[in-house]
Symmetry: C2
Subunit: 110 residues, 2 copies
């Protein structure tokens, strides 16, 4: 599965981060296509600020949102609910989601 290997260009805090950590199952049928669709859809959601993803069998994807209600709204988009259900039933052995308020950030160039 091709991963997004790029930094998200987030604004100054505060903003919201949703940390999704997942262990893949042995069934990846349809996974890559759904992942691509979901990324294209997420980018168009209100308050979407960016996404960072790393790993393969063990994956961490962090999506960034303007506020908690924007993050929550994305969770309830119909196509995303369908993908979440497939993820639970098929693609992921286990996963965790952590919703966070980003309070401070810094980087190499700052």
């Amino acid at each position: 599965v091709t991963q997004h290997s790029a930094f998200a260009a987030t604004p100054d805090p505060p903003y919201v981060a949703v940390i999704f950590t997942a262990e893949a199952s042995d069934d990846d049928d349809g996974y890559a296509a759904t992942l691509t669709s979901m990324r294209e859809l997420a980018v168009r959601q209100p308050g979407f600020l960016g996404m960072e993803s790393a790993g393969d069998r063990f994956e961490i994807t962090v999506s960034y949102w303007r506020d908690e209600s924007d993050a929550r709204a994305w969770k309830t988009v119909a196509e995303h609910i369908a993908a979440q259900n497939l993820g639970r039933q098929r693609w992921y052995r286990d996963y965790r989601v952590r919703v966070c308020n980003v309070i401070r950030d810094y980087g190499a160039m700052q």
Copy 2:
């Protein structure tokens, strides 16, 4: 580089997450040994709750802490400062650090 492919057994929120996102440089001399040392050292810090890591050339590592002062204290441990300096000078082309308050979490089994 061997990654930690396991979920962190974090308690109920609130707690603190430090999201470290990094793009590797072409120089990985000494990186793996330092990473192992730093993980062993982090586990022994006050308030350390766990760590999750995924990826290789593009890496996301999330460390979890009881509170912000515990996370900040780890940043200032002498051996960790030396490793951070080597990371900036040698191993990472670029990186971001985001310090967050985890307000809500859920998983497949809940």
